[in-house]
């Protein structure tokens, strides 16, 4: 047999089984039988989503989506934990949601491109409150009205009924329990500036474009925060911390004992670590006062190609099940009365830092962010 043909056969013999192995990954095409996962009755979700009226309305919306051939949702923004996505798709198996990590200006530019080309793809925008508010306030607005089927309180809906505060995520202090006892662990901003922790604290660098600068800016505005904490705390923390490039490294370097204390540790990352390694020698603390947090918002994009499916996602996120899914993944649900993530006080019991209003937050943190980046050499 010629050597050339031998090489082809060898290549094919190796390639085919490998491709088959990869091809065995997943599957999951939309079901074709169009069965209603809710069954025949209007409350066949068993109360998982809310009251019978809420569940009936959501079932109708689900049927409208599938009748219109809306089997997918494209969300522009950082995705939630996979468990949240899995929970939605388990509840509504004919609809698949995909996240594209577009943020802020990139998202708006992409939507401009879609509008110019007529190829509309984005259905949902997900991000912090400022960029979503900016989208809604644009002229023309990039967000359409939210179809409130889940009795979301009015204070969670903003900008002419288009944006919804869906969940919040907190930052706190992560402590390696092998190196620091519960009694010694710092629980406040002032405690983090104690010189005894110099060289033992780690934080994501504010100069590297991460959450470090933005969260630190919360200590400087509004005026009440500036007076209570201000630059003394910011400078005091800077004197004590070593820096890493990414939020995830704050967690991993405390877990492996390189540092004893992680400052501005992102709770969802800590939560994921615990999910995979319950025996990790770490503990998460909220601040006694002024726990910083990020407000999560979403909106249904104007000209969304799958509007019914998009409204269904938004309503599911705000339903009992959706909020519980976010809590189970380490986020604070925004709906009143929802339980918080495991291991930390719920949203009603935590002392959260005072934030600027939605309107003021659009530009109110910017100058402070720049000053903090400059402080760290950015």
């Amino acid at each position: 047999m010629p050597r050339t043909r031998q090489r082809w056969l060898v290549a094919a013999a190796i390639t085919a089984p490998m491709l088959a192995l990869v091809g065995c990954a997943g599957g999951g095409t939309p079901s074709d039988d169009g069965t209603n996962p809710g069954g025949d009755s209007g409350s066949a979700y068993g109360g998982a989503l809310g009251t019978p009226e809420v569940e009936s309305a959501m079932q109708d919306l689900y049927n409208q989506a599938t009748d219109a051939g809306e089997y997918e949702i494209t969300a522009y923004g950082p995705p939630p934990a996979q468990s949240v996505i899995d929970a939605f798709e388990a509840r509504f198996p004919d609809i698949e949601i995909t996240f594209e990590q577009l943020q802020s200006q990139d998202r708006i530019t992409r939507l401009q491109g879609e509008a110019a080309s007529g190829n509309h793809v984005g259905d949902i925008a997900v991000d912090g409150r400022t960029p979503i508010n900016q989208m809604a306030l644009s002229d023309p607005s990039w967000c359409q009205a939210f179809d409130n089927l889940t009795d979301v309180p009015a204070d969670l809906i903003g900008i002419d009924g288009t944006t919804v505060n869906t969940y919040n995520t907190v930052f706190g202090i992560l402590v390696n329990t092998d190196l620091v006892s519960d009694a010694d662990a710092p629980h406040s901003w002032e405690a983090l500036t104690d010189p005894k922790w110099k060289g033992k604290e780690v934080m994501v660098s504010p100069a590297a474009g991460g959450a470090g600068a933005f969260v630190s800016a919360m200590l400087l505005t509004p005026d009440a925060n500036m007076q209570k904490w201000g630059w003394d705390i910011v400078n005091g923390i800077k004197a004590n911390v070593s820096l890493v490039a990414k939020d995830a490294q704050t967690i991993s370097s405390v877990v492996d004992g390189t540092y004893a204390i992680g400052v501005l540790a992102y709770y969802p990352y800590y939560y994921q670590t615990l999910e995979t390694t319950p025996d990790a020698p770490v503990k998460f603390y909220l601040m006694d006062e002024g726990t910083p947090y990020s407000v999560g918002k979403q909106c249904v994009i104007t000209d969304a190609p799958h509007p019914h499916a998009a409204q269904l996602w938004m309503n599911w996120v705000m339903s009992k099940e959706g909020q519980a899914s976010y809590a189970a993944a380490g986020s604070y649900p925004s709906m009143p009365g929802s339980p918080g993530p495991k291991g930390i006080p719920g949203p009603d019991d935590a002392d959260l830092i005072t934030l600027l209003s939605d309107q003021d937050a659009i530009t109110g943190y910017s100058d402070y962010v720049k000053q903090i980046q400059a402080l760290y050499g950015g």
Binding site: R7, T98, E100, S117, Q134, A245, D256, S366, G377
Partner: protein
């Protein structure tokens, strides 16, 4: 003087006022060239040009809004801008020199010596190049940082040194980045190096020069176009390096921050009453990169334009390797060291990370659940499949455009040469973090391109634009080595320009073409900025998916996904290598048959 009737009887016709070069097929050729250049100008020049304009406009959309000079003044008068610029220049020059020196040396060893195992050097370097920079960086990060890092455990046990003394800082940053790009330099140089005529080297040796002297005075000067092209490319890409300086520069005391970080931070600032992104400020910083690239390109043109570099001259051309004695053992040792530093260490760390609960943390043990999660995801097969075909197709097309530009630059007049040079360098002037945005905002108003936004075609076009500068640096070195006499011989024998190009130029430039194709494909496979902005969710690539996982804190899963992708790339590369050998053999066979037929054809000298 003859009268009209006499001229008519003699069949004389009045000569055309249009010269021969602008008539008939030549005119068609010129129009075709003009149209091609126009399309390339729109695709390649327009985005960076718009970025320059956008530095002076502020509004909701990048490049639109009110004219203003304030963002430009603000960033140019900020000391931080110049500190990060200087940091990036120092980093990129140091890395370029180190990587090019070692890469060129290893390319010479692989094709000009009889060092053992030289035949595996190119596939090994190609495999190392496939390691994504993110995981290359993370691999070295966990090797050098933390109490569980292997190096720190060794230092503590042997010398009692605690902490992470080599975890960050200038020496670590420069060396880690340099090791990462040595394979790039190697692959750029191996094509032209393989086409060096041994007779040139022999002539120097016969005149009394030692091997080393011949290398530095004959071989290297003839590779000047490629060397300076690659040097300029690496220097400019060093300005856009992001992940590696983040990992090894930020933790340093004081932090070493680079140009791309400043661009990103500026872009994320909120400006105006509506909190628009500060694209004008970011684009203003980008002007520094435009200036730098312009200086590099002008310097390169000045340095290489004064002489010929053809080494493939026809009959008697012998690109044969030589034996250099026992010193070849040292050559092999250098190769093994580079493989260890650039490939083995980060790859082993990536493999371990894929099996850890938290990547880089050994104390929590190992698990297979990362692979289970990745392989059970319905998207895994799609993203790998998309990554492979998008990278292969975009890389090929970029290499083809690069070949066209290189050949046009060498064989055409000054205008085309100038345009080809500008086109092949222009996309590099856009900072990496802005390139997706720059392309999208540039193409949005263009009627033909507008409708393609969101489609796979737009993504492929974007990748071609971004990858062509890389591919051109690989291919042009091969093109300049071809003596014009070879093409002229074919034309004199009756071959058309197209036939000459495909039967003479292409076979001779194939090694450089394949190198350019491969390097461009790797660059496309690892690109993060373009897929989300220019295309649709169905075109999601493995690089984007893995980066998302990494940003969400699932570094171990991201490592698992990349390992699977690496296996797929290795297999695809193996198939490609087999194809390359087959195509080369086929072309040789076709050429032999054509020569045989020409010789034995009725009417030929031999037949008669």
């Amino acid at each position: 003087m003859t009268d009209t009737s006499t001229r008519a009887m003699a069949g004389w016709t009045r000569p055309s006022r249009v010269s021969a070069g602008w008539r008939g097929r030549r005119l068609v050729g010129k129009l075709l060239m003009a149209f091609t250049m126009l399309v390339l100008l729109i695709l390649f020049i327009y985005p960076p040009l718009l970025m320059v304009i956008a530095a002076f406009r502020q509004g909701a959309i990048a490049g639109q809004g009110d004219w203003t000079i304030e963002p430009f003044i603000e960033v140019m008068t900020s000391p931080a801008t110049w500190v990060v610029t200087l940091n990036s220049i120092v980093l990129s020059v140091a890395v370029a020199i180190i990587a090019l020196a070692i890469g060129t040396f290893l390319a010479w060893v692989a094709v000009r010596t009889t060092t053992p195992l030289r035949r595996i050097m190119t596939p090994t370097m190609a495999t190392i190049l496939a390691i994504p920079s993110l995981f290359y960086g993370l691999g070295w990060y966990v090797t050098l940082n933390g109490s569980g890092a292997p190096l720190n455990i060794l230092l503590k046990s042997l010398f009692g040194i605690t902490g992470s003394p080599f975890g960050s800082g200038w020496p670590t940053l420069i060396l880690v980045v340099a090791w990462h790009v040595i394979p790039v330099a190697y692959l750029f140089m191996v094509g032209p190096m393989s086409r060096m005529d041994a007779a040139l080297d022999d002539a120097a040796r016969m005149s009394g020069a030692s091997g080393g002297v011949a290398f530095f005075t004959v071989v290297l000067p003839l590779l000047r176009p490629t060397i300076f092209g690659v040097l300029a490319l690496m220097t400019s890409y060093g300005m856009t390096a992001f992940e590696l300086p983040l990992l090894f520069g930020v933790p340093s005391q004081p932090s070493i921050l680079v140009f791309s970080t400043k661009v990103l931070n500026t872009y994320q600032e909120a400006v105006g009453s509506q909190g628009w992104a500060n694209y004008a400020g970011a684009a203003s910083i980008g002007l520094i990169l435009v200036l730098l690239v312009t200086i590099l390109v002008i310097a390169r043109e000045r340095l290489v334009s004064d002489r010929r570099y053809s080494t493939i001259s026809g009959k008697g051309f012998r690109p044969e390797p030589k034996h250099y004695g026992r010193i070849q053992g040292l050559f092999l040792a250098v190769f093994f060291l580079v493989v260890l530093l650039a490939g083995v260490i980060p790859l082993v760390q990536m493999v371990l990370g894929a099996f850890q609960h938290v990547a880089g943390v050994y104390s929590l043990g190992f698990t297979t659940e990362n692979f289970e999660k990745v392989l059970s995801s319905r998207r895994t097969f799609q993203v790998i499949q998309t990554s492979l075909w998008v990278a292969a197709l975009s890389g090929f097309l970029a290499a083809a455009v690069a070949l066209f530009l290189s050949w046009a630059a060498q064989r055409s007049g000054r205008v085309v040469r100038f345009l080809a040079t500008v086109i092949s360098w222009a996309p590099i002037a856009i900072p990496g973090v802005l390139v997706g945005l720059a392309l999208l905002t540039a193409y949005m108003p263009v009627p033909g391109l507008q409708k393609l936004i969101g489609t796979p075609i737009m993504l492929i076009l974007g990748f071609i634009v971004v990858a062509t500068p890389i591919a051109t640096r690989a291919v042009e070195g091969g093109v300049v080595q071809i003596a014009t006499e070879l093409e002229e011989s074919a034309r004199i024998s009756g071959a058309s320009k197209a036939a000459t190009f495909f039967t003479v130029v292409v076979p001779l430039v194939l090694p450089s073409f394949f190198a350019g194709w491969f390097i461009a494909a790797i660059g496309v496979a690892g690109n993060l900025a373009l897929p989300v902005l220019l295309s649709s969710p169905s075109m999601r690539t493995a690089a984007v998916t893995a980066y998302d996982l990494y940003n969400q804190g699932n570094t171990a899963q991201a490592a698992a996904l990349f390992l699977i992708l690496l296996v797929a790339v290795g297999l695809a590369g193996g198939v490609a290598w087999v194809l390359f050998a087959g195509v080369t053999r086929l072309l040789k066979r076709v050429r032999s048959i054509r020569i045989e037929r020409a010789i034995t054809r009725k009417g030929s000298v031999v037949h008669a």
